[in-house]
């Protein structure tokens, strides 16, 4: 089997995000960037499947500006075999990303496409499902367990009520939940080796996909601030405050 894994470069999950003063977006200059966390789970799962002998090749792909390549390089350092970087500048919506991925799938013909369930920047949670629709492939979203069978996958999904298990035929799109696995760290020798692995660069415009946003971002604002609270001295005071001041019990 051949697995295509999509990764996205986002503001690191530990960074306190700040809104720009002119309300046009969030501050990204001199801010630490990393791979979207559930995309790391997607890479890890693909590598595990390859290690189990069930996959032959892993191709890591990202769509984004020049520096987005770092996320592909990181995937190469933990076990992906080669990379693809589709270059596009500025904001790009999930619909356009899924159309780009569709073109790449047509060319690469993977059996499986893995990616994180959601990117932690725009929190859209769309790309995997959209790609599945465009390809008319089955989808298994929010995967927390993947069992690779002969021509099918059995996938356990994290849903509101608990866990759901479905079986999807290959080829399929899987979006990965954080609990799917524990992503490994790249070792120094593997980071060095990854520098020699090939990354193919493609311009989005050469793929014939319209990447113009359909959604206008009118403004971006700080969330409403909570007014400062107080520290209470003991449990008795807490209960009195909840009863008499907040009146919630």
């Amino acid at each position: 089997m051949k697995i295509l894994v999509a990764v996205k470069r986002v503001i690191d999950y530990n960074v306190q995000v700040r809104v720009k003063e002119d309300n046009t977006g969030v501050v990204t200059d001199n801010v630490k960037m990393s791979t979207n966390p559930p995309d790391d789970n997607a890479v890890e799962e693909a590598v595990k499947i390859k290690e189990s002998g069930k996959a032959k090749e892993i191709v890591a792909i990202t769509v984004g500006e020049e520096k987005a390549q770092e996320t592909v390089r990181k995937a190469l350092a933990v076990g992906a075999d080669r990379g693809i970087h589709v270059k596009v500048d500025g904001l790009i919506e999930p619909l356009a990303v899924s159309k780009i991925l569709q073109k790449i799938v047509d060319k690469e013909k993977p059996d499986l496409v893995f990616m994180g369930k959601q990117a932690i920047d725009d929190d859209c949670n769309q790309t995997g499902q959209m790609l599945a629709a465009l390809l008319n492939w089955p989808q298994a979203t929010f995967a927390s367990k993947i069992d690779v069978k002969d021509k099918t996958l059995e996938v356990t999904r994290e849903v509101d009520e608990g866990l759901e298990t479905i079986e999807v035929n290959v080829p399929a799109i899987i979006t990965c939940d954080l609990r799917l696995n524990e992503p490994r760290y790249a070792s120094l020798p593997n980071i060095m080796k990854a520098k020699k692995k090939p990354i193919e660069q493609i311009n989005a415009s050469d793929l014939g996909v319209d990447t113009k946003p359909r959604i206008e971002q009118i403004k971006v604002e700080e969330p409403p601030k909570r007014k400062a609270g107080i520290k209470v001295a003991n449990v008795e005071e807490l209960v009195q405050k909840l009863k008499n001041e907040a009146k919630v019990i």
Binding site: P38, L95, S98, Q129, A133, E221, V232
Partner: protein, 317 residues
């Protein structure tokens, strides 16, 4: 034109978040139609027809909708989408799984997880786990929208009498098979809709210690939540997780016990009306969002808290 909302249900009952989504949908367009895809689901269609905000119910009853398979639902929704300006559903795991599949087939750039309707094409939505709010305007002719349920009140469920019309099913997919669903049953209020939520974090140290949380939850008729750290450590099952990648809750009272307050957790609870934090680390970030902070060892404070609550005789159920 009208709006079309896709109902979530279990063939017997409407899921509560559909009611919140109905409220938002009727703010977008008062001529709201609801699509019920189910199997032996007459009671669901009937109860939705009694919601005053709903003007028409389209009921498609077919065995392919016995279980919720996004592929099967998508084909039916696309078939019915033509005469609608907006396709809408709730932004929980049901709608998150389904709507993008519909949007891609209709070539629409979806607006996910809105918390406020500004106009029929402009919406407010949180980004970066709620650390910023974006006002966005959709320029697609038809729009696909998912609704953050906890940001809207549930719709009234009685007094209406919308007509129910039968609709045609879509094409079934033979590439996806439902195997099983492991629902965790509980007598407690549902986490997403509870008036009081008490959550435990890594500070609980073990699954057994969640008994302390349960005792207080029983007393307050509260739902039980958890941080991702507590879930990952195996103290409690994932359906309890509150946060960016878990559930978003907006109760009247949220009690965070032994939770440090990672950005991802705050994203799931910081809109709560009153927040209480109990933590022995006075520098924990959770205190920055708490209305009432108690710097104490939770193993000492929780039993005392329960004892104090027992002294009150006015606890609202």
């Amino acid at each position: 034109m009208s709006s079309l909302l896709i109902a979530e249900h279990n063939n017997n009952e409407v899921k509560p978040f559909t009611l919140n989504a109905i409220t938002a949908a009727s703010q977008i367009d008062p001529d709201l139609h609801v699509l019920v895809l189910g199997h032996n689901s007459e009671t669901v269609a009937k109860s939705i027809s009694e919601i005053p905000n709903v003007k028409k119910v389209i009921h498609v009853d077919n065995e392919i909708y016995n279980n919720y398979i996004a592929e099967n639902f998508t084909s039916a929704v696309v078939k019915h989408a033509e005469n609608y300006s907006h396709i809408i559903c709730s932004a929980n795991t049901f709608g998150k799984n389904l709507m993008p599949r519909i949007a891609a087939l209709l070539d629409i750039s979806q607006v996910s997880d809105i918390v406020k309707v500004i106009s029929a094409d402009t919406f407010l939505r949180p980004i970066y786990a709620g650390n910023a709010f974006a006002t966005v305007k959709s320029n697609d002719a038809k729009k696909c929208i998912t609704i953050r349920p906890t940001s809207f009140e549930p719709a009234e469920t009685s007094g209406g009498s919308a007509e129910i019309v039968k609709g045609d099913p879509g094409e079934p997919s033979n590439h996806t098979k439902f195997i099983k669903k492991e629902e965790i049953k509980s007598d407690r209020p549902e986490l997403g809709t509870a008036r009081i939520v008490i959550s435990g974090g890594r500070g609980m140290q073990s699954g057994e210690n969640f008994k302390l949380i349960q005792d207080v939850a029983d007393k307050l008729n509260a739902a039980i939540g958890a941080s991702r750290a507590a879930v990952d450590a195996g103290y409690i099952t994932n359906d309890h997780q509150v946060g960016q990648t878990g559930k978003v809750v907006v109760p009247d009272l949220y009690i965070a016990v032994g939770i440090s307050g990672a950005i991802q957790h705050l994203a799931g609870m910081k809109e709560s009306k009153i927040i209480v934090a109990i933590n022995k680390d006075g520098e924990a970030p959770i205190f920055s969002v708490a209305d009432y902070g108690l710097e104490a060892d939770l193993f000492d404070a929780l039993p005392k808290f329960l004892a104090e609550l027992n002294k009150l005789n006015t606890i609202q159920k």
